[in-house]
Structures are given as structure tokens and as C-alpha cells.
Point group: C2
Chain length 157, copies 2
DNA sequence: GAATCACTACTCGGATAGGGTGTGTCCGAGTATACATGG
DNA sequence: CCATGTATACTCGGACACACCCTATCCGAGTAGTGATTC
């Protein structure tokens, strides 16, 4: 899985802790975790296209969350970065070569593809059920001082 | 996900239908679905290393299943081809840059990584629960004539 | 003094190179078969 | 005729190129602020 997913998730949480009052630039979000600024910008663009964050150009510009954390699921972020394609894609090799049966015999779906799709569905269901607010809550329970530290750092120079 | 997974799964089912009496060469398995023989051979090697299939060299050589289908899970095949690494790997960017808190503050796991790992666990659990024999049964119910057709083709020239 | 306008500085957005992993191919190591040879 | 040794053909196994996508970077489009200019 793309590394950008991890960056996007952390950045969303940071944006939430900073608050929606002012926009934060990609460069600043990147500096906070020592990430390449231009590349993080690319990931944030993807989040923007997906409607997860809003963006404004120019001075005082930057990114901010487009909706509250409890309305953003892990699935939303993963889909925004990785795309909507399934990990396992059936290429219907059963219909290729001498192994292909009579035409029209393949009305039923490939049993292998179905089994793989079912497993992937379980994964997606789990991701869709967990919102970023759940993650935030757990993170704050583990490190209660983190939100303040983050807010202060981003408020400073 | 690697395309080899699909090939490996179909090949395992084909091997089961052919029967354990004689070994089948990678070239023949590949020809059945019009796949590049040398590359399918590579995937079968991975299955061999994982102990899913057995291999013998020389004339009359080839591959055959190392154990019955009901003792081979989808997870086994995926792990054999893709490797044991998790799809989402946490690089602990929360400990990088100015955002890093005091040393020793990170005894608890990253909440993001935990949530992603839980989803992936659901996926793995589903794959581990489904055996190739389940898939075979469903496939035979959808196309009852397929096993005979496969057996005949591999028996022929 | 206030309004208008041009200028500047700053940020996102997409277009542009580089590297690593999957994809595809090739040749050598090893073995069962077939055949020639000798008893 | 039977046993033995040898040559041979065939297959797996790993080493070797190629391609595509992720990673990383740069420059242009657009905007808010600032200052000068004019009424």
C-alpha cells in the first residue's frame, strides 16, 4: 500500500487538532514530521479532490478539513489516495487458451474472484466502519498532551 | 496485488482436478490458460518453497499438490506469492521531526496503525477461513462439467 | 483622507524526472529414460 | 537374454533484462495583502 496513506491520515488528525479557524500549508504539515513537502502536497491534492479537505491558494492559504472527523472514515482516505480499484482483480484467465469452455458458459462469476472479493469486502467494511474521530479519541487517551503540543507548534513561528 | 496470485490459485485447482497420480509441468499448466510459461514457473516455485506443491525435475517431472485442497487456505497461497509483510506498514512518522514528543513517550502503539492493522486482520481472517476446497466445491456447482474437461485436456497430447 | 490600482509575495495545482518492485525471459543443475555394450 | 554404463532429452531452479507505478521535484496559475498614486 502506498506510503501516502499514512501521511494523509496523520495530516488529517493534525488538521483536526489545529482547528478549522485557519488553513495550514502543505509545507508546514510536512515539516512537522520531516516529510518531503512537495510530495505531501500531492497527497493533500488527492484528499482535496475527494472532498475530504478544502484548499485555498495564495497567502494565508493552505488546507483545512472539509467536514468533521466523525464523518471521515478510514475507507474515505484510503480510497482518495489509492484509488477505487480492488486489490485483487480477476482477469478471467479461465476464459483464455484451450481451457476456455464453450462460449456463454461463463454467466456465473469466477469462484476464486468471488472468494477474494468477499475477503476484501471484509477489509473495506472494517475501514468504512472506523472513523477518524474514533482514532483521534484513542490517540488522545494514549497521549493526552499531544493535541496541545501540536496546536502550540503550529501556532508558533 | 500481484497477478501471480490469480494464476497460482487457478493452477492449484487445476492440479487438484487432474489428480495426484502424475506431475504436471509448468509449461502445460501455462498453456491451458495462455500464460507465459517461464513466469508461471516462477510462481509455482514460490508455492513449492511454501510447501503447497511438490516439484520433481527431469522427464515425467512437474508439480503436484503437496496436501489436500481442504488443507490449503487462500491465505496460504497469498502469503506464498506476496510475502508475509502487511500491506499497511507504519513508519512511525509521529516520531520524526519537530512533532516528535519526549523520548519514551511512545510505549503505546500508533492508533492509526492499530486501526489499519485491525482491518487487515479481518481480511486475513477471511482468507484463512476459506480453503481451496470450498472454492472448488462452489466452482463445480457452477460448472459441473469443468473437472472432466480439464482432466481430459491434460490427459491428452 | 479615502479610494483605486498596480505590484509583490505566497500557495496550490498539475506537469515533469528518477528509483524500486513486479513482470517477463533465459540458461544451467539435476534426473529419469532409452539405448548401446558387454557378460 | 540380462545387467550395466553412458548418452540424451526433459524439467525445475535461480540468475538476468524490461516496464510500469510509486516516489520525489519543479515551475506556472491564481489570490490576498501592501504600498503608491490620485481625486
Amino acid at each position: 500500500m502506498s506510503e501516502g496513506v499514512e501521511w494523509a491520515l496523520h495530516s488529517c488528525l493534525n488538521l483536526a487538532w489545529i482547528g478549522p479557524e485557519r488553513a495550514v500549508t502543505a509545507a508546514r504539515l510536512a515539516a512537522y514530521h520531516d516529510l518531503p513537502a512537495a510530495y505531501l502536497n500531492k497527497q493533500l491534492q488527492a484528499l482535496s479532490r475527494a472532498g475530504i479537505v478544502g484548499s485555498v491558494s495564495g497567502p494565508k492559504g493552505g488546507f483545512r478539513l472539509a467536514r468533521p472527523l466523525d464523518r471521515i472514515s478510514l475507507m474515505d482516505v484510503v480510497t482518495a489516495i489509492e484509488g477505487p480499484e480492488e486489490a485483487f482483480r480477476c482477469t478471467e484467465i479461465r476464459q483464455q487458451g484451450p481451457g476456455a469452455g464453450p462460449a456463454g458458459a461463463y454467466t456465473a462469476g469466477c469462484a476464486i474472484a468471488e472468494a477474494m472479493a468477499k475477503a476484501e469486502l471484509a477489509w473495506r467494511r472494517e475501514l468504512a466502519a472506523r472513523t477518524l474521530d474514533d482514532v483521534r479519541e484513542r490517540a488522545e487517551r494514549q497521549a493526552p498532551e499531544a493535541p496541545d503540543r501540536i496546536r502550540r507548534w503550529f501556532a508558533g513561528a
